[in-house]
Symmetry: C2
Subunit: 125 residues, 2 copies
């Protein structure tokens, strides 16, 4: 058993990884967080419920979605008019397609990097 402090290598470190997509102008079109937002809309069929799950104001969720739609030049969410809850929202086929591609891009990456990190930083050489 080894100390968590990795005495030969200074203090313990943690791995961080971010993957995102940008438009030509450098603005973010899709990221891990934005993909989570789309997934939450897909799961709940509601932007209000998605925002609640991600613990952000409804307005923030709406703004992020709207930004993505502008930057991608594609509609991502269809919202039916509704009552106080803001109506039902569902992903468009374009959003589902985008999410599927991003999920495939990210697949297994955290696990692969975590494995490498363990080999390089947490085991005896």
């Amino acid at each position: 058993m080894r100390s968590k402090q990795q005495p030969n290598r200074g203090k313990r470190q943690h791995l961080r990884l971010k993957v995102w997509l940008e438009a030509d102008d450098g603005l973010v079109t899709l990221s891990d967080w934005r993909a989570s937002l789309l997934e939450a809309v897909q799961r709940h069929g509601s932007l209000v419920a998605a925002a609640r799950e991600l613990n952000v104001p409804h307005r923030t969720a709406w703004q992020r979605l709207h930004e993505m739609e502008e930057r991608l030049g594609a509609r991502l969410v269809d919202t039916s008019s509704g009552g106080a809850a803001g109506g039902a929202s569902r992903l468009t086929p374009a959003a589902e397609d985008l999410l599927r591609r991003f999920t495939a891009l990210r697949a297994g990456l955290d696990e692969q990097l975590a494995e490498r990190f363990r080999a390089q930083f947490e085991q005896d050489a």
Copy 2:
């Protein structure tokens, strides 16, 4: 030949990827940029020359290094006193070790992700 505009998928997107390490307190200990800084010191034997290569003020380079040393609890650069140029700087064995591990962690990752990105976002399904 396909249009760069990917007409079926809205506007063209670009892949971005960041890998970094943090200490327990969430502060960055090593990142792609910080690894470049260590590599530049290694190559030039001089923090001044490394800062010039990375196009940052000498003071910024020095601060980043000093931060990393504090956060890691290890000395990364040995500097011999010198004249106006600030003397010679060289990586400590701890820094060389850290850089070697980080390089192994990152190895081939950009290429792998770029390949996945092409498959998912730039080719016909």
